[in-house]
Structures are given as C-alpha cells and as structure tokens.
Amino acid sequence: MKTIETRRLPDLAQALSAAGYCVVAPIEEGGVVRFREWAPGLAIAPGAVPANSSKDFLFPRSEVVARFALEPGGFSPAPVERSAVKTVVLCARPCDAAALTALDAVFNWDYRDGAYNARRQAMTVVSLACSKADEHCFCTSVGGAPDGVAGADAILRPADGGQLLVLDELTEKGRALAQAAAGTLSEGPAALDAPAVLPRRFDSEAVGRWLAANFESPFWKEAALACLGCGACAYACPVCHCFDLQDETDHAECRRLRNWDSCGFGLFTLHASGHNPRPDQSARWRQRVMHKFSIYPQKFKTLACTGCGRCSRLCQAGMAIAATCERIEALGR
C-alpha cells in the first residue's frame, strides 16, 4: 500500500507544488478552516470540514466572463484571458468529491461551460475518507459514504489510528498525481481505520416523492420562519451553482462578471415589474429544498445534495436541511 504519515502532508503538498500543481488544501486561519491555496510553511488541517467547499476552485465566486471596449458610437468585444491552472485539491471531503458529478451535469447540460470545464479538466481531486462525523453530517442519507470515492481521482484513507494515510489511485489523474508525489510516498502495510459511523437519517427518495406532490403545503410557511434570507448556505454548498451576470462599466471598458447568487435572496427572482414569484422566505426555502431533492434529481438523476452539512453548520438561524428532510419524510408516512 502507498502510505504517507499524516504529519507529512505538507511534504506531499510541496512535492506536488514542485511538480507544477497548484495545491489547494484545508488550512486554518483565524479559527476558520478553509480550502485555499497552499504555500510553503502553511499547516494542513485534515480533520475538519472546511467552511467553503472545493467548488470555489471550479466555479469561483466572481469571474470576468466577457469584456467590451467602449468606442465612439458603440463597443467591441475584447479578449478575456482564461487560465486553467493544473490544480490538485488535497484532502477534499468525500462529500466534496461527490458533488462534482452534480456540478458536471449542470455545467454540461444544454451549454458546455468553457471556463468550468477547463478548470475541471485541470483539476485532480484527492479526497480524504472521514473517520469522524458531526451532528450536521448526513452523507449516508443522500447516497454517499464517509469513505465514498465518487468524483475522486484518488482517496486518502486514515490508518494506524490516524498516524498514517493510505493513498488509493482511482483514475488516470490520480495515478499521475501519485507518480508526481512518489518521492513522498512509502510502500508498506497499514491497518486502515474504520470509517465514521453515520446512520441514515432519512430516505431521500421518500422525501422527493412528498416534495413532488406538496408544493403548496402549509408546512413551508412554518418551516422557513427562522430563515433570514442570506446566502451563507448556498455559498458554502458544494453543489449550489446559481450565478448572476453583472456588467460593470467605466469610461473605457465594460466587464461582464459572473457572480454567485443564491435562491435565498429576495432579489433572486424579483421581476423588473416589481412582481416576485417567490414573494417570501418560505417560497425561497421551499425552492432550495425542492431543487436539491426533487427538481434536480428529476432532471439529472442525481441529488443536488451530498450531505456535507456545511449549510446547517454555518446557518446563524439554525436552519438544518437534514432536519427538514426528516420532518418531510415523517409527513409523507
């Protein structure tokens, strides 16, 4: 088995960096662990679920997608430099990796998104199996597992009580990476740690069935009372992918920006007329739940939720999508 001591993760990052990868890893800063670009000297925090998800490196929160030069009497398109740097996400959670299936689906549906696909091509995902889970985790309820390999190019599995990590290459990209990092990997036996125990909390198919039939249920009014309408859940979600196009203009140039957007915002569906088809927060929360467990699966045959629990961990108002699903399942019975 290819192994590396957990404490030597920075050496792995260093080797990959030397091999031309841009290394992204969970790094702690000011009490908050985030996926960010690793640099020599930075410690890697493999234990925690980072506040952001690895989607940030495929679908950044803001990017210029077009430029126009202003001229007398009009404008003309200007080139947008698009760089897809060879990137590795190190210690991605299995739930992050699992989200790639859902993201790939939406960014290649009727239109193949150039920027996304270029980054996706250049990205290698090395996930880290979970040996712990907290009360917000529910991957097992949405078809995932603490040691799931969906979407990953390679997986690190904790062994010897967390002292060692065992690397399994799963794809060509994964094998290329293992080769690039060969110098830091050892070959030898290791006793794999048991994956986190995470009982299934709800039946997502049952939830989907209830949702499809209960758009107008009074349940929504009451279930969304606490929601204050920010975008924290959507922005932390590894699957959420809504965006807004905004033009910013100065006297010489117009830049068209693609910025993250969230169905939690009232502005999201506000018409120019002033009419809003989702007039209150309950309609927006309903949309969020339905999209993840009913609409998206109908369209793409996959849930738009991987059970990472980030949304509930970050919610200031204690909104928890898993709890909502449990209640829905109960309603359906």
């Binding site: 985030r34 009372l225 204050l228 975008g231 905004q246 910013e248 927060q281 919610c315 200031q316 108002a317």
Partner: protein, 266 residues
C-alpha cells in the same frame, strides 16, 4: 427560564400575541417561534444566544402575524427602540420579553422598553476587549491597516449574512442591490467587498447597538465589529449619540448641531 416560559405562554394563551420569537432550548440556541402556548416549554435563554431576534421584525412573514413578542436581552431591547424611532414598528404591535443573564425581567411594550433601558441599562458600554482591538488596529500604520483589511475582506463571499442578521438592515432594497447605478460592485472581489462592509457599517451608525449578531453570523469570521465600534465611539464622543434609548430620537445622520466638531476641516 421558568418565568420566561410562563410569561410567553400567558401572552399566547391570552391571545395578546400570535407568535413569540425566542431562542430554542437546544445546542446553539437557534431562533424558535412559539405559536401555541404549549410550544413555550422549548424556549430558553442564556449568554450563548448570539442572534438579534429583532431582525425578524422586518420580515414580511412575521409582520403578517403581528402582534408578536420577542425575547430580548439588552442589545435587542435597544434595537427595538431604534426600530421604533425610525418608524419601523407599528405602534403597540411588538412586546419584549426582557431577559438578561439568567433573569427574566418582564414583559414590556415600546414605551416600557425605553423606560427599562433608561432605568437599568443607561450605562451599557462596549466590551473593553472590543475597544482594545480597535485601539490596537489604530496604532498600526495606515498601510498595515489597509493590509489587515485586504486580508480580511478577501475572504468575504458576499453572502450578506451580516445584513440578514442585523435588525438595522431593514431596507426593502439594499443599496448594494441598486444597479442603476451600481455603486457597490456585487463581485466578491476586493473593492466591492471593501465598499460593502464599510458602507454597511456606516449605514448602521446611529442604529447599531453593538449586539454583535453580524460578526457572529459571518461564515468567514470577518471582524465586522471593529467597524461598528469605531463609529459607535465617534458618535458617542462627538455627538453624544447612544442609539436605542430614546424612541423619539432624531436620526444621528439626518440631524445636526451648530456645535458639531469641524476641527479637521480647513
């Protein structure tokens, strides 16, 4: 705890309110909405409650269910007075279940809230630790301060959790949502993030009660209270402004005195 639950239950039983907005007796003390007397047993309050529940008073869903009662520690009481002064609360439609530490202080209407604050909390001051953080930052050079904020604001994803958490952010159309012209870039990039956070804080001067809900809500842990605190201190020192005590107060921004300082002007 018992007294709070009983008072809330009484309000619902006597149909004086249709909803009690409080904190739930579970981990993290999230917001909880008691609509029936029997729900009130789930209410709780302690120092770990970070949300400012007055933020719910601007939500259309809640306004449709007035009259309501709100579980309110001192900072939230002040928010209620601020909202009253700025004509955001329909008269007589909001009751406060005042709490502080472990004790329940009683049920108050808007006038009672102002009286309670004057009588019991007239000397509320910002936490010394917060002021020390402000002072510490001010002692750095302008370039160091800029670098500090550059690092902080670069984390901002523009999720607007800070705005959602704040009872003072009650505009129906936030300035950042105005796109003709778009004063504040909505891209989650340096300058837009900077302008957003600076203007958010500035727009709260005269409203902010330093409740800390915005900073607590920020998923990225931005030190937003530094911005609030420097404005709070300046408003107090220069204009004697203490938001949230006088329901008849003139707006800090929107009034003036001939004696206002202008020593920095030439």
């Amino acid at each position: 705890m018992k007294a709070l639950r009983e008072a809330a239950e009484k309000l619902l039983r006597e149909k004086r309110v249709s909803l009690v907005i409080g904190y739930e007796d579970r981990k993290g003390r999230p917001a909880f909405f008691a609509a029936k007397p029997e729900d009130c047993g789930r209410l709780a309050y302690d120092a770990s409650c970070r949300q400012n529940l007055a933020a719910y008073l601007g939500k259309p869903e809640i306004r449709a269910r007035l009259p309501v009662a709100v579980v309110a520690p001192p900072a939230v009481l002040r928010s209620i007075v601020v909202l009253t002064a700025e004509s955001q609360l329909p008269p007589g439609q909001v009751l406060a279940l005042a709490v502080d530490g472990d004790s329940f202080l009683g049920t108050f209407d808007a006038a009672g809230v102002a009286e309670l604050l004057r009588a019991k909390y007239s000397t509320l001051a910002p936490e010394p630790a917060l002021l020390e953080r402000v002072q510490g930052l001010l002692q750095k050079s302008p370039a160091e301060r800029a670098a500090f904020w550059e690092a902080e604001f670069s984390k901002c994803t523009r999720c607007y959790a800070c705005r959602a958490a704040c009872p003072g952010c009650y505009c129906s159309r936030c300035i950042v949502e105005k796109n003709a012209p778009q004063w504040i870039s909505t891209a989650a990039l340096g300058h837009g993030n900077y302008t957003w956070s600076v203007m958010r804080a500035f727009h709260q001067s005269g409203r902010c009660t330093l409740c800390g809900a915005c900073e607590a809500a920020c998923p990225q842990g931005l030190p937003l209270m530094l911005l609030n605190a420097v404005l709070d201190r300046e408003a107090l020192e220069e204009f004697g402004s203490r938001p949230g005590y006088d329901p008849e107060a003139k707006p800090l921004i929107g009034s003036w005195s001939a004696d206002d300082d202008h020593s920095y002007m030439r």
